[in-house]
Amino acid sequence: MPVRAVELAEQFETIEKQEHAARLAMWVFLGSETLLFAGLFALYAAYRVMYPADFHQALAHNDTVLGTVNTVVLITSSFTVALAVHYVREDKSRLAALLLGLSVAFGMTFLVVKFVEYADHIHHHALPAGMYTMANAPPAGAVMGQTLYWFMTALHGLHVVAGMIMLGVAAIGCARRRYGRHRFIIVENSGLYWHLVDIVWIFLWPLFYLVK
């Protein structure tokens, strides 16, 4: 199996510095991403305080079982990603590729379950505020809960898709033995991103499924 030499960009002196830079960049980027969701969590908090009772009505649509299934799916996928990072460091790239592929499949499962939920919401007219016709509109606060639910889960869903693409790229690289003990920073960074996606859901899950 040919092992590709590590490409060292000209601006870096050593491979350690280059990897340190990549890792640092990912952490800083995750910090930035967190702030993106922080704004939405702040909105959630503000509206929940404004309309405590109405939120119960809004979130009554949500199926705790499906939400919990999705949580389990995502946590499991985070576990497989962590394992993949572990094995790629031990140069077991094939195994890592398999685990990453599995994680992408878990991501796909998550999305399918989410779409089932969305279909159900659309069927029950549990839509964001502006999409109601005035006739069947529930009380104001409940609509806000729905709007936040849709926007936050949809934004999270986009991050899931982005994470799946990253994991997919990492998986293909591992399968071709482009990544191994000599070079695993991309696998590690994709893993880090996936953990962020997972952690965001860990916050969304209680807010939209458990605290009803």
Partner: protein
């Protein structure tokens, strides 16, 4: 060692490769900086044209040249173009991009491809914003306050998306700067040996990274509100428009520091170089940048004293806003103290520094004034605020941009501009500026609200004064630009270090070669060691 500077044996970065492709697909931070330079100058001129149309309309109390709808779209476009397409990328993406790696002794930024991508994302955002303008403009003002922005008949959705994309570009650049500063410092270049420029750009990048996502989110919500009818801030569904203001200002107040910190960066370098002195207190300037970056996140509420926030919130936000001014004041005093006992070259960047002192101190202190709650009630959303904002953004940031454009001109192009013309245009810019914006403080006192198309006749003569000043300012800027463009072609050749600076970007040749340094330099001094002779200084920053 070659006296022409390190690496002078190689062709410079502009001649290293030729052809359009070698520019458009370059990964060289210096070429990317030049492409950004061209773009931001274009948008400065565009935004300036919008401003002149606005000022001309305000010559008379009623209709002068355009109708109210055009006027409203024009001030929105002026704001959006100037804030997001000029001010935010101006100093970081042009001079930061060019000079920061040189100052660190690095061959490039940590992620050259992300750097290039950042430029194209910026161009894409500009195209979206200009398309939105053609598709019907936006008449919401650059603040996009809901619920007006969600119901406006104009292309608000596209405008929101354009600014979101622009935020992605800023984040990419900022990420690059932060990582580069951490990982690509030359050997021996400890944090306390970094040029002050680097500290301020680092602070700016931190703000961009943690504030821009919140703005991106709120503008996405506005775009979804306007385009899809999401209704998250819509009072008809129980939404609260004031929450949008909180989210918006959580970004947009720090954004003011995103725009002004880089000018502190420039001024610090200019002052030290032209007075041949180390800064009176290095740590005061360096740490106050970080202080501003940090405290700047907790002052946003002072934009909402009359929006119906609680009195105690107003008290806290007002107090914190004053803290920021103290950090800025420390910087100002340190700069002035640096001049004392120096050997000062009276040059164009230095003259811009003098204007900066007056405009920034007055603009900054009026910032403390508008953070004083009871006074803000009278001034809020009036011309006083417009004047204060422009004193900081034009008097501060644009003046510093011009100082940087002159200061690093030999570094970037290897030529010298005409100093006398430079000084004259600088005077024209200053006089034009004062005539434009000083009357606006008085208009604000007199009670003229901002974003007014027509106004009562007793405000007229101050408006006429302001409009006249605006034309002079525009002429001054054009002349300054012409002076530099002429120098590009006919200027005298500059040596590697025409100003006798000790800062690290001048170690290498001017203009630098494609890879900046043949070998990463070893730095054994600070960038402000003016007690060393130039030879000693060079010996202590070996690059070969």
């Amino acid at each position: 060692m070659d006296p022409r500077g390190v690496g002078a044996t190689h062709p410079d970065y502009m001649r290293a490769e030729s052809g359009v492709r070698s520019w458009l697909l370059t990964k060289d931070h210096k070429r990317i900086a030049l492409m950004f330079y061209g773009a931001v100058i274009t948008f400065l001129m565009l935004g300036g044209i919008f401003a002149l149309i606005l000022r001309t309309e305000l010559l008379t109390p009623e209709t002068t040249i355009i109708d109210p709808m055009t006027y409203n779209q024009m001030f929105t476009l002026h704001g959006v173009t100037m804030v997001w397409l000029f001010l935010i990328p101006s100093i970081p993406a042009v001079f930061g991009n060019f000079v920061l790696p040189l100052m660190l002794g690095a061959k490039d930024l940590a992620f050259p491809r992300i750097n290039l991508a950042s430029f194209y994302v910026y161009v894409a955002s500009a195209i979206i914003i200009l398309t939105a303008m053609v598709l019907g403009g936006a008449d919401t003002g650059w603040t996009f306050y809901v619920p007006y922005s969600s119901t406006s008949p104009t292309a608000v959705t596209w405008m929101g998306i354009g600014i979101f994309v622009n935020g992605v570009s800023s984040i990419m650049t900022a990420l690059n700067f932060v990582v580069t500063t951490h990982t690509l410092r030359a050997q021996g270049l400890r944090w306390h040996r970094l040029p002050l420029f680097v500290w301020a750009i680092y602070g700016t990048s931190i703000i961009i990274l943690f504030a821009t996502p919140v703005l991106g989110l709120s503008l996405l919500l506005v775009a979804a509100d306007h385009g899809l009818g999401l209704g998250i801030f819509d009072p008809r569904y129980g939404g609260d428009p004031v929450l949008f203001q909180h989210l918006f200002w959580f970004y947009s107040h720090p954004a003011v520091y995103i725009m002004i910190l880089p000018s502190f960066a420039v001024i610090s370098e200019v002052v030290c170089t032209f007075s041949q002195r180390p800064p009176a207190s290095y740590r005061a300037i360096a740490y106050s940048s970080l202080g501003i970056a940090f405290i700047g996140f907790f002052t946003w509420g002072h934009h909402m004293f009359v929006a119906g926030m609680s009195e105690w919130d107003a008290g806290v936000f007002g107090g914190l806003s004053m803290f920021v001014a103290i950090f800025s004041a420390i910087k100002v005093f340190t700069w002035v103290a640096t001049l004392r006992g120096g050997s000062i070259a009276f040059s164009t960047p230095m003259l811009y520094f003098l204007w900066f002192l007056f405009l920034f101190v007055f603009g900054g202190m009026t910032g403390v004034a508008v953070a004083t709650q009871s006074l803000d009630v009278h001034w809020h959303d009036g011309y006083f605020v417009v004047a204060h904002f422009h004193f900081i953004m034009v008097g501060g940031a644009l003046t510093a941009f011009l100082a940087a454009a002159h200061y690093w001109f030999p570094k970037m192009f290897g030529k010298l501009y005409d100093e006398r013309v430079g000084l004259l245009t600088s005077v024209a810019v200053f006089i034009g500026f004062v005539f434009t914006f000083l009357p606006q403080f008085l208009l604000g006192n007199a009670g003229m609200p901002r974003r007014y198309y027509s106004y009562p006749p007793h405000f007229q003569w101050l408006n006429v004064l302001s409009t006249g000043g605006a034309w002079l300012l525009g002429a001054g800027l054009i002349l300054a630009l012409i002076n530099l463009v002429v120098a590009l072609k006919w200027g005298r050749r500059a040596g590697p270090n025409p100003w006798g600076s000790r800062s690290f970007e001048w170690i290498t040749s001017s203009p630098p070669s494609k890879h900046n340094f043949d070998v990463t330099p070893i730095i054994e001094r600070t960038p402000y060691d003016y007690h060393l002779s130039e030879e000693d200084a060079r010996a202590r920053s070996r690059a070969s």
